[in-house]
């Protein structure tokens, strides 16, 4: 019945016409979503004259704009800084979160639920309340830090973000569903918790590990307020702060600014198109604004 009905429905002109306004609305939304990207890419390939007169499409693409932005506006250094910062943060975060999530999910110990609840409560703390004391911590004003002040260091940009309740929560949810007979089998082989975690649990948990990685990547790559505070020179300045500073000095050279923005966005877009399903489903499942 259903299969017989379908061709008939689609064959009806009236039925198909019902979808015209639906498609028009969806297409309008898509155009609105994409237009800023089109403007950015198009302008980034223009000559100075074209950029100034606000044409919409360059006569011939000027790929040299990217070379100039990369070299002259220090985007090469900012890019490498962001790669190192993000990579280091994600590595640290995965280690701390995996260990903690495993303990919360698989081992019973005193005050487990209380500690977990307190961790979740930190999700409610606004960044605007904590960044001031955090800055003093990083400056070494509150208690001494290894190596003195951490201003303008890699650790200032990575260590505070190597643990967060979101990652622990997501991993814990997944680890809690791993069958106990796997643990029994591992114990029969003489494995402890750490070996079981590394050899069995982590390999089984690639989907959730990827989700946590994506969320951490988005947060770290997008970091802006904090790097402004703790970097006063270009040594460890990340891309976002570099792009913002470039906005102030680019002046009328909109084409170079858009090339810089494209350099900033490209890694995220590549990652998104490669792992699009994981992006949407992982974030939709966690429902978290990363």
């Amino acid at each position: 019945m259903a299969s017989a009905r379908r061709p008939t429905d689609w064959g009806t002109v009236g039925y198909r016409l019902r979808y015209v306004p639906v498609y028009l609305l969806l297409l309008f939304g898509a155009v609105v979503a994409v237009t800023p990207f089109f403007y950015m890419v198009s302008t980034s390939l223009m000559t100075l004259g074209e950029a100034l007169t606000r044409t919409w499409v360059p006569q011939s693409p000027q790929w040299s704009n990217y070379v100039r932005a990369w070299n002259q506006a220090e985007f090469a250094q900012y890019f490498m800084n962001s790669v190192i910062i993000t990579g280091t943060t994600i590595a640290g975060l995965l280690v701390t979160s995996t260990l903690a999530a495993y303990a919360f999910a698989r081992i019973e110990f005193p005050a487990r639920d209380l500690i977990f609840t307190m961790l979740l409560a930190t999700l409610m703390i606004p960044e605007t309340v904590t960044f001031i004391p955090q800055f003093l911590i990083i400056r070494g004003d509150i208690f001494p830090l290894p190596g003195g002040s951490w201003i303008n260091t890699l650790q200032a940009l990575t260590v505070p973000f190597m643990a967060n309740a979101v990652s622990i929560f997501l991993l814990r949810q997944f680890f809690a569903r791993i069958p106990f007979d796997l643990w029994d089998a591992a114990r029969m082989d003489g494995a402890g918790h750490l070996r079981f975690l590394v050899s069995v649990v982590v390999p089984m948990s690639k989907p959730v590990m990827l989700t946590v990685t994506l969320l951490a990547f988005i947060t770290s790559w997008n970091a802006f307020l904090w790097p402004i505070l703790v970097t006063t020179n270009p040594t460890w300045r990340p891309l976002m702060v570099g792009l913002y500073n470039f906005m102030g000095v680019a002046g009328p050279e909109t084409h170079l600014l858009m090339a810089g923005a494209m350099i900033t966005i490209l890694p995220v877009l590549v990652l998104y198109f490669v792992a699009q399903k994981q992006f949407t489903e992982g974030i939709a499942t966690s429902g978290l604004k990363g």
Binding site: L26, R54, L99, M118, V129
Partner: protein, 413 residues
């Protein structure tokens, strides 16, 4: 499923097998496993919130100064009495809502209930108006105005992005060709780094093409030209949107008030957000609508298809199905997105910081921006800490209000 059952069944056996020594070893392992995370979150998450309050009690400019107690707070709100009246007024609004939805829901008490609720609402309105005007006169107008602008931003972005997302998700959920493509495109603004997107939008919503090419129009103004509207100064425009739209009517209205001898005028913050702030609100809607679409799509997947089929048998059309089935059964998702959206937008920083211009003056300075400037530019650490704590209380109040008001309307099918 079977594996899970098996796992659960074997768990008691595992526990029974455990020895005292083994239990102790397990506890030690657990504490060692959670130590790095808990330490980092405690140091950079929990400790700072207490220390921020401690800082706000001192005069602290770069270096720690003398103890001043709650002086920063009294400077910000001006009058404790006014702040208390304002807070009591807000609490009274919640009480009125509770009375109306709970205590007087029975038919017999409806008549008295209406009268009492009206009384409470009137008292609340008076307390809020008197409290607020006194605080603005005696306290930090700069800070209090930034709170108002923060609410403008939140109220401007959240309802619009959720409404748009609900419509788009509902359309997309039908048998649409290219559904995955649409979803991918809608999600694009969200995954794009916000600072970079804000840099692009700063160009889209500038007043004109460039100072070196006076005749050119920015993309936003090209759209206006297409619609037959004069170019606007967008991110450079400090005047309220309402003034730009209805300036003559507002002037006439204020003249009428003056002729009646009324001291109050419809101006300043009463006219709502500036066009500059509206431009940033548009950016906020653009950024987050797609995320909401994805989450609504997940929610739609959870609604039983039989409900729609039954409704169709009863002759319901698309609009009726939308309002009777889709909206009620998606209310948990809507509530959740609204809650998260408000918490996020009340703290919004990056897009405002990137897109603000000197020409718009302070009209896009939300509380987060002001706190940052107090700390980073004015180097007044303790005042910034006090301001951030008051913002925290505002966020808490808004969150509690939403839970009270919206929580009861959530329909769990």
């Amino acid at each position: 499923m079977e594996k899970l059952q098996q796992g659960k069944a074997s768990r008691p056996a595992t526990r029974a097998v455990g020895r005292t020594g083994h239990r102790f070893g397990e506890k030690l392992t657990a504490y060692l496993f959670i130590l790095p995370s808990v330490f980092l979150i405690a140091v950079f998450g929990l400790f700072p919130i207490g220390y921020a309050f401690y800082m706000s009690l001192f005069r602290w400019r770069i270096r720690k100064g003398g103890y001043i107690g709650f002086e920063h707070y009294s400077d910000l709100v001006g009058s404790w009495g006014a702040a208390l009246a304002f807070a009591v007024g807000l609490a009274a609004l919640l009480v009125a809502h509770w009375l109306w939805t709970s205590a007087f829901s029975r038919e017999g008490l409806r008549r008295w209930g209406r009268f009492i609720v009206a009384l409470v609402l009137t008292a609340a309105g008076v307390a809020i108006a008197l409290g607020w005007s006194t605080m603005m006169r005696e306290g930090s107008e700069e800070f209090l105005a930034s709170l108002v602008r923060t609410l403008f931003y939140a109220l401007g972005t959240i309802p619009v992005q959720i409404a748009l997302a609900l419509v788009l998700a509902t359309l997309l959920f039908q048998k649409i060709r290219g559904k995955e493509g649409f979803r991918m495109i809608y999600f694009l603004p969200y995954v794009t780094p916000q600072v970079a997107a804000a840099v692009v939008f700063a160009q889209l919503f500038s007043p004109r093409g460039s100072s070196l090419a006076p005749g050119s129009l920015s993309p936003a103004n090209q759209v206006l030209a297409f619609l037959g509207i004069e170019p606007q100064r967008w991110l450079f425009e400090p005047r309220p949107l309402l003034e730009l739209l209805f300036g003559e009517q507002i002037t006439a209205f204020n003249g009428w008030l003056a002729s009646l001898g009324v001291a109050w005028q419809l101006d300043g913050l009463w006219l709502g957000p500036s066009l500059a702030l509206v431009s940033i609100i548009i950016f906020g809607v653009w950024t987050y609508t797609g995320l909401n679409v994805v989450i609504f799509l997940a929610g739609l997947g959870g609604i039983p298809g039989e409900l729609y089929e039954a409704a169709e048998i009863d002759g319901a059309n698309s609009r009726q199905k939308f309002w009777s089935i889709t909206v009620p059964l998606l209310s948990p998702v809507t509530y959740y997105l609204t809650l998260l959206g408000f918490i996020g937008s009340l703290q919004a920083f990056s897009q405002l910081y990137v897109m603000r211009t000197p020409f718009a003056r302070d009209t896009v300075d939300t509380a987060s921006i002001l706190i940052f400037d107090t700390f980073y530019k004015a180097s007044n650490f303790s005042l910034a800490a006090a301001q951030s704590f008051l913002l925290f209380f505002v966020i808490l109040f808004v969150t509690i209000t939403q839970q009270r008001v919206m929580g009861k309307q959530v329909f769990y099918g």
